[in-house]
Subunit: 221 residues, 2 copies
Amino acid sequence: MSTGNISLDILLDELKDSILAGNSPDESVRAIKKRFPSVADKEAKDIYALVAGAIKIVPKENVSLVLTAPAGFSLKAKTTKNTVESLLEGATKSILITGYSLSDYFKDMVDLIINKSQKGVFVKFYVNHIENQGTFDKLCRYKGRFLKIYNYPKAEDAMAALHAKVISVDGEKTLITSANLSYHGQQGNIEMGTVIDSKVMAKQVDDVFTQLVFKKVFVEV
Amino acid sequence: MSTGNISLDILLDELKDSILAGNSPDESVRAIKKRFPSVADKEAKDIYALVAGAIKIVPKENVSLVLTAPAGFSLKAKTTKNTVESLLEGATKSILITGYSLSDYFKDMVDLIINKSQKGVFVKFYVNHIENQGTFDKLCRYKGRFLKIYNYPKAEDAMAALHAKVISVDGEKTLITSANLSYHGQQGNIEMGTVIDSKVMAKQVDDVFTQLVFKKVFVEV
């Protein structure tokens, strides 16, 4: 937020606090006149309005709702299916993806993921109880430098699972949802998630899984 | 973003586009001098710096990661359990909540929800296949003006489910997660979600469920 000038920074800070608190402009206008002695009252008010308008510029919303809902149900929200496909298709550097339940329905996307890894996109696929999921056989055949598979093995608590449903792409966009990689998750159920456009969030998600590997909660296949 | 004055709006728009595009300030400073003829060059540059600083004020991050992870696994993220409890405990006006799978583990929270509704907090509980979930019996006994229960009944596609896991409170904060209202969802599994502080998002989520009721996808119990 720095303006590069201390007295301006102080003024901006004062204006910001007052504007965000919804205070009357009078004091702020006086502060502006003090900083800019040559400006007239009317101009000071206009400068105030300009700064207030600038502070209230709403940044591009960086989180969107993602829905699976009955066919024919139209809403101003992204669909899970389109979001998953466009994230995976758009990946140019990396894909982090979890599979609690991966069905044959998702086989085209598995081919896409394999294809991406062969073009140098670095894929990390975190899987729940891979020993029970035959749908991962093909993926496992292609594992290698750019396609890492990590398993969440059965533990003492046999009910415990990798239940998170996450796709994070290029360290930028992250889908966090209730929807599995299955027909019902992508189309048949009612599911909700968010897609977040944030490097901070993408890094946080990546860090979580990296730590879980480090702590041997996941085991590389 | 309106300043309440058309010529100021035009100026702010011009400044915004130039500042966000990272252009040189020269043209913007000229535009400021044109709008404020009495200000000196130096002052015009300062007004530019003030507006640029105001535009770059980063709003409070409105989306946070929410995690269920193995005990002893410490991360800079909120836990699902704490988030669910603080959302429900903090509710003063309304609660929207979904139950795909509600276990006895959650019975204290059910009591809290009933208690809230008796104090005038408007609760809407969306439930998957209530006929199969005995854990909802108590809740159903308390249904009334401030506690509405909506069921997602079995359909032709017997596998289709209300699988979304959502808690939205006071039209302001919304948790969207993979975690069910069960021990494993809240503590035993690896789960991920986001909590979003946004009236826009809360309204969007509420609208989705209202429309699903309107279209008879849900039936009031």
